[in-house]
Symmetry: C2
Subunit: 156 residues, 2 copies
DNA sequence: GTCCATGCAAATGATTTGCAGTATC
DNA sequence: GATACTGCAAATCATTTGCATGGAC
């Protein structure tokens, strides 16, 4: 997946921010790995290929900036690292939602596309007056390789 | 809400673990605040009332232990603290699920009871072979006090 | 009495921040 | 040329760990 560089650049400039080699490199590294959920350290390693002098602090600062522009999304799998993936700012409506399936045996993370939660969101607004604008769903279980399709529960 | 001390004690003993004043105090502090999502530091402060000599390290070690026994659940609102709430080990089936509504303006966290995701879980198992055994849902939006019931979107 | 559990203090490790030099506009 | 950005190193801060003592069984 390639980023729409022009849109990203406009987004930066409109906020009075500068378009730097480092910022574009970080964005492109994340866009190049749509299946991965990269940590700051992993992004750092990837970006060093094109930007050998970049510092880890810049990666952290860039990640925060891109996150606030919704160019990337942050995810937390509670393994001690915050992870990042492509955001919705460049995807039109921004209403594409995907959930994460996390295998509690091997740790693998799969993504699953589904908008079933619209129904739940309406229900909540009706019942509580809370207006939902976004959601995050994590499903824990066993992937196929770890016995997902077996019926019996075998827990340690 | 009071904990079922006997069940908790049996759960510990069955694993060859000891029932200590500190462990019971931590469990009761969390059980006493069913509406809160306590951080380790907050639990520490609460427990010091009955256990003035307890150390923060013990609170952390106890929290991990109780978590592994499913006596408490961990939640992460990405604010730099891991939080804890009562778990499902003492609640029969353990199939009670509640979701969190997080206000992106004031940070308030509300809970919402709903089992709508059973449907989604079946769909996923059918489509991917991944067997879901647990899930976590966070919904972000505006609470009533912060304009949740207003229709127009007013974003910065 | 035997281990497990605790308290304290020191260590860890991801992320943040201060500051002087550098690049963008 | 002004100002925002970067790199480096030092700081932060929630959480973990080592070790000697204390408590549960």
């Amino acid at each position: 997946m390639a980023v729409d560089r022009e849109s990203a650049e406009r987004l930066l400039k409109d906020k009075g921010l500068k378009v730097t080699r480092q910022r574009m490199a970080v964005l492109e590294a994340i866009a190049a790995c749509p299946k991965e959920h990269l940590t700051a350290e992993e992004i750092f390693e990837l970006v060093k290929v094109d930007c050998p002098d970049i510092g880890l602090a810049t990666v952290y600062r860039t990640i925060q900036l891109l996150g606030s522009l919704h160019l990337i999304d942050r995810i937390n799998f509670d393994d001690g690292f915050v992870r990042y993936e492509m955001g919705s700012a460049l995807e039109g409506t921004g209403r594409h939602r995907h959930h994460h399936l996390i295998c509690i045996k091997c740790g693998r993370v799969l993504s699953f596309q589904d908008d079933l939660l619209e129904e739940l969101e309406e229900k909540i607004t009706g019942a509580t007056g809370f207006r939902v604008v976004n959601h995050e769903v994590k499903l824990y279980g066993y992937c196929v390789e770890c016995g997902g399709d077996l019926i019996e529960e075998k827990r340690e």
